[in-house]
């Protein structure tokens, strides 16, 4: 369609918390309870081996997941090398490595179900 007026409709950037699917959020909260302890200090991301070279940001990934923004989180997950350096730094004792693995597990199981 030709756009006569120079306007287009863009989707909202805001997190639609009411609509977002929080199945992964609930699954992670249950399987990795320590993930609830994050205070967003960014210590994990500062030393992250993957984040040094790519736009991977573990703090952001888990925050997105907690808000039900799972699509964004899924795209990022593959970049983690599971080195566990984030765990050594975390002042709250979040089991970051387990959290990533469980997020991957959740995606795998759900895809199987969908197939």
């Amino acid at each position: 369609m030709i756009n006569f007026w120079g306007y287009s409709i863009s989707e909202t950037r805001s997190i639609n918390y009411d609509k977002n699917d929080k199945a992964m959020t609930e699954y992670i909260a249950a399987t990795v309870p320590s993930s609830k302890l994050c205070i967003g200090c960014g210590g994990c991301t500062a030393g992250c081996t993957a984040g040094n070279l790519t736009d991977f940001n573990i703090r952001k990934v888990q925050m997105l997941m907690k808000r039900g923004e799972t699509k964004d989180a899924k795209e990022q997950l593959q970049k983690c090398m599971l080195c566990g350096k984030c765990m050594l730094v975390c002042p709250r004792g979040v089991e970051t490595r387990k959290m990533i693995l469980e997020m991957l597990n959740f995606i795998k199981t759900n895809q199987k179900l969908e197939d």
Binding site: I39, G40, C41, G42, G43, C44, T45, A46, G47, C48, G51, N52, N57, R59, K60, V89, C90, P91, R92, G93
Partner: protein, 342 residues
Amino acid sequence: MAKVIIIGGGPAGCEAAHQLANQGIEVELVEKSNETGGNLNNWYQLFPDRKYAKDLNAILKGHLEHPNIRLHLGMEPKKIEKSKTGKFNVPLTDGSLLEGDSLLVATGFKIFDARRKEEYGYGIYENVITSVELENMFYNHAITTAGGNTPKRVGIIHCVGSRDEKVCNYHCSKLCCITGVKQAIEIRELLPEAEIFCFYMDMRMFGPGYEEMYREAQEKYNIKFIRGRLSEAAENMQKQLQIKVEDTLVGKPLRMTLDMMILLVGMESSEGTRQTAGELGLNLAPNGFIQPQDPHYRNNFTNVEGVFVAGCGSAPMNLTDTLADARSAASCITAYVKNHKI
């Protein structure tokens, strides 16, 4: 006349002694070092009014020249016992024996040993210092690197030894945030050209005038605040520090070279606090500080009758709260000795 033994001659012990003495109670004040004032002796200026620590110290010290107060400097209790009649017997290291009707624990806090946070490099890299050492530099009106140069970029690291389960401290030391703001301003006054950064997780401006001071630090003193916890520091050939943090508000890892790094070391319960608690059977909170009977209306009472607590023995406190806590403890003790018809 009723008699009270106070263990610890820091601000809490001194203030409580003065208040009790004014109520006609005899006070035996025991201090392990050769002067009173405790940790206040290591400070140059105080937040939020930039009062000289030595001026406050002089006031507290002056109050001790009261006929009801006996000062025992350079002495420690060999042991602390409560007799069956409810009296307290405290033999001191010089062989004298104190007897009291009530006992006030004012044994305070100790500074977190920054060496325990090895990845920050204190004791390894020469230009990493603690907030306490910085106070000493303020005292001498000179901030220089270990090599004698004027630092061009200074980083202040919040929450060192606080809010960190890796060093077994869950608690917030409460004062470091405002100390960081105060010290950043003091650095600016001595180093007008330097870039000054504070790396914080949360800015906890809990007291009157604190938030205003934070605002002033940004507005008037051009202090920059970056929200991110230091992950690690390394030293380069020029003895500068290369730090790694995440700038969490930008959402990207950040590298920065600093000429000097200041660690805002937190507060832990002192050896004296733990030892006194051990001997008297006082309950400790999970953070190692003495557990008061109730956080609101019995915050100076311990689980042992006749034993009271004041100041940072029970929790990290600023000086305003410490002095108020000491006065509150003094009024509780006055009521206690009156009710027991001592």
